[in-house]
Amino acid sequence: MKFINSIFFKLFMTFLLFSLIPMGIVGWFAYDRYSNNVYENLQNHADDILKQKMNALSLIINDMERMEKGITQSKVFSEFLTNTNPLEHSKLYLELDELLLSIQNIRPEIAGIMIVSNNGYFYNYGYSHDLQFTNEGFRKLPWVKDVEQNNYLTPQITNLHERPYSNHDKGQEVYSYVKKVWDRKLKSYGFLIIDFKEDSVKAILQNNSGTSYKNSGTFIHDNSGFVLAPENSIVFKDVFRSHSGSTIKSQYGREYLIFTKYFPQTGWFVSEYFEKTAFYGPIYEIRKIAMLVTIITALICLLASLFISHRISTPIKNLGRVMKKVEKGYLEEKFLVKTKDEIGELGKGFNTMITELKKLIQAVKREEKLKKEAEITALQLQINPHFIYNTLETINSLARKKREHEISRLIVLLGRLLRSSISSFEEKIPIKQEINYIVNYLEIQKARMRVPFKYSLSIDPKIENYLSVKWILQPIVENAVIHGIDPIKSEGQIEIIGETKGETILFTIKDNGIGIDSFKLQQIRHQLKHSSKELAKYKNKIGLYNVQTRIQSHYNTSFGISIDSELNEGTTVTISIPMEVHNAQDVNSR
């Protein structure tokens, strides 16, 4: 039996399918919903944060604008821009200081304010000016150039830059609020530059709202690069290419989700990034648990199906074994019923069946025997043997009266022959009886012949009590007399030998009759070997083939008849049967 056909395998697959498929579907849905949920939450959260931060940024920008307005609308400022007189400059400088002292209060944390007039005058608040830094140098600054050339109406916020114009702390990087400004009469212009420190922006953008996400943060970029670089090693190229909600990879292979919002006041993009593993962590945890549960379930299925299939298949296998034995003819086998389930019922049914079968076989056997006996009885009733014996005795009496001894002898022989052929119901008789039968037969035949023949018997006394199938010698002897000796019309001779050879009893019937030609002999031998059964049954051949069939069906094919003959020399037939001891039980059983 193939493993794939076994009960164990079928059960295992069924259990596995029934447990794993629903579990898989539920798991997958849960995982999907949960992760979507988490993602949406994150998105909302990111949105909120970004809005907050942009509001904060707008506040700064608005404050800057207010400061700008405060400065540009003052009379001093207009005078400063239009002033060409160096002496006047100092007086204005002091006046501007007064003005700015109050304006600076709007944003006390700013790094400093610088006003540059078109006439080349500088005003600095919050820091002292580097005297080496001239108007020409100022004009060469990239962000000044940008504003100069493009004439922006809106204020520009620069990227982080160093402050070459400051007398100290030149290396401190700051953002600058830059605006091209005009006097009241719009006759001359200048630049207003409010520097503010990176920290001030950072402070705003810091996630101080107690975010639960690790490894998250904010950065700002515009079209050309980072305005405020992220703390993690995220490459600008990737950021620039990706849109809000997508995943990017850091240089170290970590994955981040980023959400971006455009900040129109400055043309910045504000982005919030989250490390994926940090917020997917719980989901991965769930996935891990789900996998573990699946494996454990599969194991349980395996064990359960092993157990159940063992419980189911062991009795079935036992039943199968018993059935095989019964098939081979051991009807004494019984199936041990241990359980009360269907298999137990099956076993009980099987046992009942065997018992019935046994009864049936016995009944058939008994019936056959009865039938045979009935046949013989019917035969005996047709010609009541006692009537025949009495009639024979009457003839015998007449012969006695007339002193006809030969007739009397023949009648006696005939009576004996008749008696032995109908007296026994048994299939097997002692060899002694078989020999007596052929002696009677030969004596009668002798009287019938024109030229009486001679016969000799040499039977080993040892074999006389062994059993033989009934009437196996007479047909052969009859053949020897009728087909062998009768045609030669001279004194025939028949020799009958009974002897043992190992565990076999051999009878040899030898005549000096006409013999059989070799072609016919070959044919007889072939038929004896292959078709004696059919010949005996359908062609009513009661001689050789009948004897052969009866011997071989009672014993086996290693026993039977062999024949040897030579034309005009005679024929020798040898019969072999096993040594079968007389069994008293067989005789008495009815």
Partner: protein, 251 residues
Amino acid sequence: MLKMLIVDDDWLISDSLKSLDEWHERNIDVVGTAENGKEAIFWMEQENLDIILTDIRMPEMNGIELTKHIYERNSNIQVIIMSGYEEFSYAQKAMKYNAKGYVLKPIDTDELMETIDRIQKDINPMKNESSHPENEPTTYHDRLVLSAQSYILANLMKSLTLKEIANRLHLTDHYFGQVFKSVTGETFLNYLTRVRMEKASELTKNPNLKIYEIGSLVGYKDPKSFTKTFQKVFNMTPNEFRKQYFVNEKQ
């Protein structure tokens, strides 16, 4: 000289066996033949028999019963059974009642003689010890009359004639009548009537039998003729005879 009786209901068989030459060779005298066991017992009472050769299946009393009777009488008579039956139960019973041989029909003379020879060997020493001279020797004529009487006793219900019995004995009826009268002192007819009436008087003692049944059992087909003959012999009718018998019984 051993005396032998052959018992078989088939007369041809017993007669042919009786005529065998082998008996003379063996110095055996076949005193007669009987048709059933009862007849055989009659012969046993008349003659000092040594051997009985008997069939089994016979009317009135079969061979086994006869053998049993002999065995119970503790008689010295040797029994040989001859039968067409080979059944084990018969042979077993025969052995139980001490039968000396069992010969199957059709009878092989040689086999029979072998049995006889065996028995002769057994008997001869006994015989020599007590050779019995009483009521011996019966003459040829005595034998003939015994045979006739045996036959008559066995066949009382038949209408027997002198001629019929003479034929059985291979004699002319005239000669047989003379022999019978000289041996018994009464005529055959007298004897026959006497035996019949004796039997009838016996039978009247059985109250279950009607008078006409008794008549037919002793060979009278006509009840009137039976009553007439009975009255002549006993001076009363069978019914009166019966009444008288039962009155005597009571007293």
